[in-house]
Symmetry: C3
């Protein structure tokens, strides 16, 4: 199994778990769990593939659908054992982001796209599945939560991969660095409160008064 297919599989499994956790917060039945899990797990990659004119991966590899369904069923029957489903959701989502971003970047490298498009594909694959999950289930999108790094992690991770490949590093190694950067930044944001300054409407600057 090549690196990108493996990353795809891993991100499908972990994003499916997060989708099912959100479904548990919405108290759906088991088919609802599978629906949200599959949407989350496959949404980002499907969007990437459709924009690139490729067939969505899961059409050729229906195993991915099965993986998402199994993850949903596991959560349906097992989530009550978690102490905090929301904390589990955040950390699983962080891990899924850290594998999905390099998966998107890897596909874009393989298609020979320019670096700005590579960055976008990394961000789309990493962020859009979770965004669909949150929009559909009416949660505040994790992607846009104030005072946390999220899109930023995806962006910087993809940027690191682009730079390393430009410096001559093999793509596989660069993707591993990409995953590491995403995970470290997101973990730092969750555990240590790392963040960028957010926009705050400031009062218009007072005019400089001249002493007369």
């Amino acid at each position: 199994m090549g690196l990108v297919p493996f990353l795809d599989l891993a991100s499908v499994a972990v994003f499916a778990l997060t989708g099912a956790l959100v479904a548990s917060r919405a108290q759906l039945d088991v088919v609802g769990f599978i629906f949200v899990a599959a949407l989350t797990a496959l949404g980002g990659g499907t969007l990437r593939d459709v924009m690139l004119g490729r067939e969505p991966v899961w059409i050729g590899q229906p195993l991915l659908l099965l993986v998402a369904a199994v993850a949903a069923v596991v959560v349906f029957f097992g989530a009550h054992r978690l102490e905090s489903r929301y904390k589990a959701l955040e950390w699983l989502d962080a891990f899924a982001l850290a594998v999905a971003v390099p998966a998107g970047v890897g596909v874009a490298f393989a298609e020979g796209l320019g670096w700005p498009v590579v960055l976008v594909m990394g961000m789309v694959t990493g962020c859009m599945g979770g965004l669909m999950r949150d929009v559909v289930c009416n949660e505040v999108p994790l992607v846009l939560k104030q005072g946390e790094l999220y899109v930023t992690c995806a962006f910087l991770g993809a940027l690191v991969a682009v730079v390393l490949v430009a410096l001559g590093m093999p793509a596989g190694v660069a993707l591993a660095f990409c995953a590491g950067v995403v995970m470290v930044l997101r973990a730092g944001s969750l555990a240590l409160g790392w963040r960028l300054p957010v926009y705050r409407a400031r009062a218009p600057r007072a005019e400089t008064r001249k002493r007369d």
Copy 2:
């Protein structure tokens, strides 16, 4: 007219009515009605076609756009005659689901796809248009309403079609069974309260105490 084009046409007309009813709840003007009606009526099938690399049906058959627009105008001028617009919405939506799921399944059969992808295409065609309608208009998605069968109806209907075709039944007949199963299950959920058990967070199991 073949069976799948007919199912597409029927689901467009009925989903357009449901879109227009939601637009009436949002008090839009007549162009807003047409917009929401067309989004609802064509959203699921368009998503199916884009994922399969096909041209969305309505590009080749703009008649479908006209049908959606006419349905929207009819509702704009006629909805006040309904006793309960929400009840009408639910039942029309059930009927649309029952024709859209076999339409999606039929297209997937015609493309010669494997059964897991057939299931997904039935669910996407049936559920995603209504989901887009509800997300855009800020309604609680019918798809995810607690304590009702919805995605489950689509799933089981598609499953019945797949099983019957695998047993050697002609696709056309299997699609009719599919429509029937979806309609009966959804009607049973609406009228009789049929449902699957939903997820409930349970307290962590008390540890088994050993007598000492």
Copy 3:
């Protein structure tokens, strides 16, 4: 630079500003600004291109991504100078709509599509980016705001272009008229309160009483 590429570029720049203004209302960080700006700026055109089986424009012209990012950064550092960010948002959005609709119509003309599909492509390109922005950021979609012309402006502008071309006018001139119609109608709605009658649930008609 042809007319349609120019319209695409202009609508990207202006829609990106509106996306960034919405991001400022959600108090995101600068990467969040870029994310929402790019989604808004490129969402409608990307959807149009995907439905037409074309490669999204920004894949071939990553300059558009840069334009969106620059617009986002400008707003991040400059928005506090605006007296009313919401007013700026509405008017920039109106201007973006007035360039995006003809961009969509122009692409559909170039593809030789029938007039109903041309109308849809104009409306999709004009309205869907802003709709994605509002859905993702949990704002009431401008597209669906009660008592305002919005989709209607896009629809009538596209209709004018279709009619003028059918009457033999060169496409470029027709697109200019299209832009003008959209801008005038939207401005009239914002500044002067122009609107269409909205749907209101009326009580069932009282039965005609016969004097006895």
